[in-house]
């Protein structure tokens, strides 16, 4: 847990602890986020930072924000990746190109929802600078294998955070994205000639420390 917190601090230089945390349901988030948050029901809202606010609850909210920002970073990487791939025209197979476009749209919706969630938690959404030139230069096969790897990593990343999330609403949101990443991973694994179930009957989680080094090659240093 400490490892993960440290990783996030390196990735997100945002002193969220000084910011006021807005009530999750209260903001004017993206429509998509509101829809799936609403599905969680009204009766089980997270504890508000009111009279009984403890440092433990505050730490939980701070960690939720870090997790949401982490997820947003991964979704930006995915969206940028598909954008770059589609722009390059490297995928000639029409069905596969259509799949890439569909997945790209899903990732963009995740970006929009998570951006709204970061704001609602009182944070400042971070967008990484990305580059996928080396992957695209590698050709269609390399692009497909990378897409599959990124989706499997994304699914494992969400799974790795599920038990760390304090807010039920954020957990429900993360789960609803997690399984869509799992669907993407299965389809791309199949297209790449790999097993749809690389971990067998039980999917494996990945921690921030396991995930971030694999994303780093796609991140450009910001000036």
């Amino acid at each position: 847990m400490h490892d993960d917190d440290t990783s996030m601090q390196e990735l997100v230089r945002d002193d969220s602890s000084r910011k006021r945390f807005l009530k999750m349901m209260g903001g004017t988030g993206a429509a998509a986020f509101s829809i799936f948050v609403a599905a969680c029901g009204e009766d089980e809202k997270p504890k508000k930072s009111g009279a009984s606010s403890s440092s433990a609850a505050g730490a939980g909210r701070k960690r939720d924000l870090e997790i949401v920002q982490y997820a947003l970073t991964l979704e930006h990487v995915e969206t940028d990746f598909y954008d770059a791939v589609i722009r390059s025209g490297v995928i000639k197979d029409k069905a596969l190109a259509a799949t890439a476009a569909m997945i790209r749209d899903n990732e963009q919706e995740h970006v929009d929802a998570l951006t709204a969630a970061v704001k609602n938690l009182g944070g400042k959404p971070q967008k990484p600078q990305t580059s996928f030139d080396s992957v695209i230069k590698g050709g269609a096969k390399k692009v497909l294998e990378t897409a599959a790897a990124v989706e499997n990593l994304g699914a494992a990343a969400y799974l790795g955070q599920a038990a760390r999330i304090q807010s039920k609403e954020i957990l429900a949101a993360a789960l609803s994205i997690h399984t869509v990443e799992g669907r993407h991973a299965a389809a791309l694994n199949k297209a790449a000639g790999k097993s749809i179930l690389p971990d067998g009957a039980f999917a494996k989680p990945a921690s921030m420390n396991e995930v971030l080094p694999q994303v780093k090659p796609f991140l450009k240093e910001t000036s």
């Binding site: 599905a39 899903n106 599920a162 038990a163 789960l175 994205i177 669907r183 749809i196 179930l197 009957a201």
Partner: protein, 207 residues
């Protein structure tokens, strides 16, 4: 992938913090729910009532799925090719989920529900009918677990439920491709409430 014997995992020697924070999700998901059950039963027994109910709900669905594929492999007329291969894989996965969930329930001091009586009607009349019903079951499994998971109290059980629901989502995508359907209906999987799920499986359950 078989779950290793319970005795091979030294959960007793770990502190609660190190187990819950680092070990629980990893152990629960890599080795199946069974691996974490003994620890959970000792430390979280008093909080376990709700989790047992949720696990039994999940177990009922996994029994339905596992029986569905079991029967499909015997009864579907003209089953072959990719559809048969997927059916075999899914049958094996669902059986592992059944075993893991039943052990987890016992570990929490609960009693696993019995397999429901089933009647899959015309689902095995053709490969197309089978795949259509399989898609319903897999999407339903995703929605059911996504709906139930936020109410799980134990972090270990939550991690295990997450590891199962991701596999259900992968199944759903594979079946949808065989059906020529989009792999997902939307960018966010719907979370279903228990009454919705029970209503959806009603046609297939014989009491």
């Amino acid at each position: 992938m078989k779950s290793p014997e319970l005795g091979s995992i030294d959960v007793q020697g770990m502190t609660r913090q190190s187990f819950v924070v680092r070990g629980a999700v990893a152990a629960g998901t890599v080795y199946g729910v069974s691996a974490v059950a003994p620890f959970v039963s000792e430390t979280l027994a008093q909080e376990g009532g709700g989790d047992v109910d949720i696990l039994n709900f999940a177990l009922t669905l996994e029994y339905l799925e596992s029986t569905f594929y079991e029967q499909a492999l015997k009864d579907v007329k003209g089953l072959g090719g990719d559809a048969m291969e997927v059916a075999k894989t899914l049958r094996a996965n669902e059986a592992e989920h059944v075993d893991a969930l039943a052990e987890a329930i016992k570990g929490l001091g609960g009693t696993p529900v019995k397999p429901p009586g089933v009647d899959f009607g015309g689902a095995f009349a053709s490969q197309a009918a089978f795949l259509k019903t399989a898609q319903t079951f897999e999407d339903l499994g995703v929605g059911a677990l996504n709906g139930a998971a936020p109410n799980i109290k134990s972090k270990a059980v939550l991690g295990s439920a997450g590891s199962i629901v991701q596999v259900e989502a992968r199944h759903a995508a594979a079946i949808r491709e065989l059906n020529g359907q989009p792999i997902t209906e939307a960018a966010f999987d719907k979370a279903l409430k228990e009454p919705q799920v029970l209503q959806a499986v009603k046609p297939y359950v014989k009491s």
